[in-house]
Symmetry: C2
Subunit: 645 residues, 2 copies
């Protein structure tokens, strides 16, 4: 039997499964899935070098299904080849055909969209929110190159999806980085969800765009097995990365599924019958013509070395760097301290990789760039791509630290949420956080981050961890200590650093936990709880209040989620009065403290966040005063608060 005939048989067989899967589920996207029947068959039964019995093999080629809703066809193929699923190698089991009919069920490993964290390790990242997969594939490709591994990263993208700007950020990145080990395939089936795609998304326009981006387009019939095989193996001319534009039929094989507006619609019982009639299996069944090749080579030993840094000797760390002066003066910005920490971490472990969005001389990720240029990834001004590339690097075994202004991370909150769903081991450091940024104004200030990351901090992942840990260090010492804990911890972490220099509060030997708080000073009248820059402002306020006979304690609540015993740890019992002040909009620290307190119902909390949106101000003080959270405002609030006692 010819290759083409064998593939064709399989494509029909898998399409039959897909139709039945979605009908049984009562939902799903059979039309997007069958469009990929031939491509999936060639990839999973011929081209990809992988081991269905061991989806954790780090040498395997990988597939990123950016067009996540088409996943039923991948599930069908994977079950057919006897692919293994499970949360980890100890809990692996073979997927069976019977599993397919559990698609989208609450107890099923076959989720509506790809997600390795739900027990489907064939994939590396949760997809389904469109436009993110090419970046993930690029990150996996970078990791492979860093490790000298011969891996090909395949990525299937929809043509409807090609309108997402991130796709083009990723293609720019692939061109910049010469990632010839990424092979992108556009599922060019002419339809989006509600309508045909526009001329901007036609196969011809896609090819023109790809050429303009400096990549090599190959346009094929997406249902021609030989053409698919050839395109997947094409050696790029002039070393350009190849992008395949596969002309496909949405709803291939089933007339009903081919109508516009049939996106995301399963067939009813009658429609399924008709579909199975149309998808008639040929008489001759393929005999072992199709078999996925195993990856070659010895599986390298995983680097599981714990990461730790010695107690920070700031003077020594800063020697010879641009931060020596600041350290001398004893006033160091946490972003400067992070730069020092990142370099130290980079020296401690080869897994540490830094990414930056063209601001490495502001975030100070440049420290790693200068010493380990091969582990620094310049992502330019394209934050969405940066985050998903980082997710790919994490899936490839790296510990990526993504860096940019806290405000610019907002550009990638969708990608970050998907990374949280993936349980990606991704670290983010948002510099210039809060309103202390001053003169640049609100378009550069990170003020919504506490709420967003706080919401992730309050939910558990499938692995039982917080969706994200949020760290807001107040000084250089805690920054370095928390950065080390952040690197060694497995999971998503976001750290806010500051633009301005601040005093050093902690001794180098002060022990820190990833999740915790520090009581800087006790106080019988009230406790002021703050983080980051506001710890210093709160200190000023506490001193002024002391002068007026009011004893305010000071707590550095540097992390979310709060520790389970937070209130006890800070000595807040019945009747306690807590004033929380943060330099970001509400939903973060104050919300968490109020929630904990309100459960008790006998602790009072007054919360201070910027009252109004900030604007430019020449000094941090100007802006703090403008938005009503400067030391003076804290004192006034404290007195009001106590007056009402």
């Amino acid at each position: 039997m010819t290759f083409a005939a064998a593939v064709h048989y399989k494509a029909i067989e898998l399409s039959r499964h897909v139709c039945r899967m979605c009908t049984e589920a009562g939902s799903g996207h059979p039309s997007s899935a069958t469009a990929l029947a031939h491509i999936t068959t060639v990839l999973l039964y011929h081209t990809m070098r992988y081991d269905p019995a061991n989806p954790w093999n780090p040498l395997s080629d990988r597939l990123v299904l950016s067009e996540g809703h088409a996943v039923p066809i991948i599930y069908a193929a994977y079950a057919d080849v006897g692919g293994v699923v499970g949360a980890d190698p100890k809990h692996g089991r073979k997927l069976s055909l019977d599993d397919l009919w559990t698609l989208r069920d609450i107890a099923s490993v076959l989720d509506g969209h790809p997600n390795p964290a739900l027990g489907f390790p064939f994939f590396d990242a949760a997809t389904g929110s469109l436009g993110q997969g090419v970046s993930v594939a690029a990150g996996l490709a970078l990791a492979a190159r860093m490790d000298g591994l011969d891996k090909t990263l395949y990525c299937i993208v929809g043509d409807g999806e090609s309108r997402e700007g991130q796709i083009w950020e990723a293609l720019d990145f692939i061109a910049d980085q010469h990632l010839t080990n990424v092979r992108v395939l556009f599922n060019s089936n002419k339809m989006g969800q509600s309508d045909y795609v526009s001329p901007q998304q036609s196969a011809a326009t896609l090819a023109r765009k790809i050429r303009a981006y400096g990549l090599h387009p190959i346009t094929i019939n997406g249902h021609d097995p030989v053409a698919i095989r050839k395109a997947l193996a094409a050696r790029p001319p002039k070393g350009k990365p190849v992008v395949i534009i596969a002309k496909t039929q949405k709803g291939w094989g089933v007339k009903e599924l081919q109508q516009v507006g049939y996106h995301g619609k399963p067939l009813d019982a009658k429609g399924l019958q008709a579909a199975l009639e149309q998808l008639k299996l040929p008489a001759r069944k393929p005999q072992d013509v199709l078999c996925p090749p195993l990856p070659r080579g010895e599986i390298p030993k995983a680097d599981r070395q714990a990461i730790a840094l010695a107690d920070p000797d700031l003077v020594k760390m800063a020697e010879g760097t641009k931060f020596a002066g600041a350290v001398q003066k004893g006033k160091v910005a946490t972003r400067q301290a992070f730069g020092l920490a990142l370099l130290a971490l980079g020296r401690a472990s080869k897994r540490i990789v830094a990414l930056d969005g063209d601001v490495s001389n502001s975030t100070f990720s440049e420290t790693l760039r200068k010493e380990f240029p091969d582990r620094f990834v310049e992502c330019r001004i394209a934050e969405q791509n940066m985050i998903s590339v980082a997710a790919g690097l994490a899936a490839g075994g790296k510990i990526p630290f993504a860096n940019t202004f806290a405000k610019f991370f907002v550009r990638a909150y969708d990608q970050i949420e998907m990374a949280a769903n993936t349980c990606a081991n991704l670290k983010m450091v948002g510099s210039h956080s809060g309103v202390s940024l001053g003169a640049d104004g609100p378009s550069q200030m990170g003020v919504v981050d506490a709420a967003f990351f706080g919401s992730l901090a309050g939910v558990r992942t499938p692995k039982g961890r917080p969706g994200c840990v949020v760290l807001v260090p107040s000084d250089a010492i805690s920054t370095i200590k928390l950065a080390a804990l952040m690197a060694d911890y497995e999971g998503l972490v976001y750290m806010r650093t500051l633009r301005p220099e601040t005093a050093i509060l902690y001794q180098p030997s002060e022990p820190f936990r990833l999740i915790g708080q520090k009581v800087l000073s006790p106080g019988k009248d009230l406790a002021i709880i703050a983080w980051g820059y506001m710890v210093h402002e709160a200190r000023k306020a506490a001193e002024r209040l002391k002068g007026e006979g009011i004893e305010a304690g000071l707590v550095d609540a540097y992390s979310l989620p709060l520790a389970a015993d937070f209130l006890e740890a800070i000595g807040a019992g019945p009747g306690a009065k807590l004033l929380v002040v943060e330099d970001n909009y509400g939903g973060g620290l104050g919300s968490a403290v109020a929630a904990a307190a309100a459960q008790r119902g006998n602790i009072r909390v007054t919360s201070m966040t910027p009252r109004t949106m900030p604007k430019s101000g020449k000094t941090a003080d100007d802006v703090l005063r403008f938005v009503g959270i400067d030391a003076g405002a804290i004192c006034r609030r404290a007195k009001e608060f106590l007056g009402k006692a």
Copy 2:
């Protein structure tokens, strides 16, 4: 004096101002600004048809400075032409040269980046977070076309900025929509912040990309006044929109500013001296050669008609639509109700415009598309562009309703925050919100929206309003009533709608306020506070609890911010027990209620949000149970809560 000589004189003069402005401010981006000296001069002194004395003239050409940090050059030109600033026409005043030296001061109207909401009405939208301006210009252009106005929308973009995917979403959109009245200029100065731009961003590559996108690139010397003037006036061949690639010198005119890494650095006193030496004004001063032409035509009367809908007659509204069956059964999804409301609003006011991201047959914005295709904007799968286009439409006097899944709005949170800073009159409706979405799984579920939008709800804009109002209607009636209030209200509003059908709770005559709550039933033991889908789940729980002798009241807390008298309004006095349950991650409703309660310190609040990240489930019930917020879980929590009393 020739045109070129006059422009050159002005370019030097403005560059002198820019250097001094940034030096006095102690911060700023003089190098990006002087690169635009000639372009700015030709635009603001010759090409743009506008009235410096009346920046609110709706007939004027507009400039969107996407490369927001270059704003000092615009400020300098605007002051030089005697441009008017102010919060509104009643408070307008002429900008003077002396104002320039107040750049970035807390009391200055000259913010670090453009923002009309801070009193600089020459601009239409806050920019500074890069990559958003082309979309805004496209939205302004669409509004102009809808109104039959002959306006040209200019947009200046950086080459570093060209890596942002949104730029390419916008260019696809401009091509799709044939927006020939948009003229984009790339400030191609070869440098980003930390480094030279990559080959992907060179002038030649930009031209290739633009051609591939179906637009017409014109490459010029960005310091040649005649070439600039010509390119700005070029008539597009074959009706293609024109994109100008202007090769410029970053830090034009000042040697020190031309170094790599000098991005965002002001000159010190000595550097300023040297700069002014280099930027020597020619001997001959231009005499009235340059004067901005006024816009022609009679200023149309602004449509300030209040928008209101009659009490909704669901049966009548649904007649002849696909929702008639649901209404008949008395179980209507809020997304269906919104579809009906949108159509009614579209009939009530010509200002109503709907945008959608290729899911109008799921969000049901298709109702407007079918009846008023000229007021429906298909944005395809590109949410970032959709939001900023909507911001442009709002600036152009429209009332835009942007529609997509709640989860897909996360893609545009940066753009939404900028719209909040702008105080844009932008409405967003996120369908399929919360975990009740069921089978698609978390990549399609809006669960972080409450925290993000809640954080905006808790801060005041420069105009004194909430940064955003969040609406979460629980039934069809409240959806329609709140949609009408949303349309009539001036400011940012976000509504969450649901996929599944729910019961109808309110009478058509029930009065609603934009910010408020409804006590559905009183209860002496505790009050269950919920919104949206969870009101129905809470109702089930309350009924079960009643059967066990526990009287739980029920509150539909449908908006954020909470009303100032929320606790009083729901009858929560000292000793009250409140159980809050929401189908989104924390930081939203529960946080707001806990914050209000904790201020008192004598009200207990227990908050329920999804305990774990959701996954696919065939029914909404499956998923609610999986994440621990179903009626059974609510009952258990209520009993625990009371047990601890």
